[in-house]
Subunit: 239 residues, 2 copies
Amino acid sequence: MAALGKVYLIGAGPGAADLITVRGARLLAQAEVVLYDALVTPEMLALCAQAELISVGKRSGQRSTAQTAINQQLVECAQRYQMVVRLKGGDPMLFGRADEELRALEAEGIEVEVVPGITTALAAAAATKQPLTRRGVARSVAFFTSSTAPGEPDHPALPATDTLVQYMGGREAVGTATRLLAEGRRPDLPVVVVENCSRADQRIRRLTLAGLGEGLDATDGPVLVMIGEALQLRLHQPV
Amino acid sequence: MAALGKVYLIGAGPGAADLITVRGARLLAQAEVVLYDALVTPEMLALCAQAELISVGKRSGQRSTAQTAINQQLVECAQRYQMVVRLKGGDPMLFGRADEELRALEAEGIEVEVVPGITTALAAAAATKQPLTRRGVARSVAFFTSSTAPGEPDHPALPATDTLVQYMGGREAVGTATRLLAEGRRPDLPVVVVENCSRADQRIRRLTLAGLGEGLDATDGPVLVMIGEALQLRLHQPV
């Protein structure tokens, strides 16, 4: 049997092809096979046109059997190819289910390297020009998501940080707003909602915690919701 | 008077020259002048060898007058050059004092664009192969730091997230451990300490919350401390 290949777990970043790291782009151009998520954009895949492309089409909320199948595909690719890339939207180590893929590969003795990616919260902060921390105002940030695991409570305590960022936060963020208001956070606390961050169809909405509590239009793409005093527009900030 | 230049606030990432984004690297190569932090590495500055390089040598904890001087330098550069880069270690929007620089530039009507960078926590997660979230175990993460602003309390409440990441967390993290133990977190909770993340002299230490509470050796470079059940070594994980 041939030597096992190496698997690179690479963060694609939020979507724009030039928001991947230089290291990630170089490795993509060398890959023999690339297994990619539903959130990876076509322009990103143009960076690995030489590779066999396998869509593993996972979206958040899908059942865990799908993850088991991805794990198995990764192992099989490392048995057939020397240079395997697993390309994930955002960063692999934050809401990326990397733990499960690492375990499956390590159990077979397959070497893995992880290349970080720009997580959507930071791309959204850049796109909106709203820092997530502010001296004297916000010096802690939490990234969280609603439950997608069976058996987990749907509503754990909300992080009591200065800034809150909810990933995959469309309708779920309305519930977050309701709970934060009940906890006594002020109704006019700034909220910024970013859809399809860094892509051509990026959409930015500015509202308040009370406004978010009243609901959010249905959306197609990934939604990130940022809440906190740090999100206040600056005096001369162009909108 | 000539038209004002444009300022790019760019995240350099943790240090390795190929962990900047493709967009960041391209803009660096076009810059006329680059104002860079103490944490930006020489290999990163090789990407903008054509530019005038200005060290603004800021380290966390320095007095705010230094920041005022940086703001002023940025404005002056935009008055003299068309293409100005402000290069910051990590990501500009997370513990990067971006708010103050954005305000100073916007007050003068200077156009600013922000390019995100790999924040150290995600580079450390990649380097140690420890995801910060884990299905069924950890679905919220907080990034925080100790106070550096005069008048701020030194010890606000610690975030009650599943995973905690303390930036600039050398000695300060010992106090964090003591407080978490007092709050009832378990003494054998995994802790990973990463110094000089992604650089040639990177150092990774694995300990427990109780061990961190007993102290941490003095270090030279930037230190990141990650705490939580998600940091547990996996069964077959190579160390």
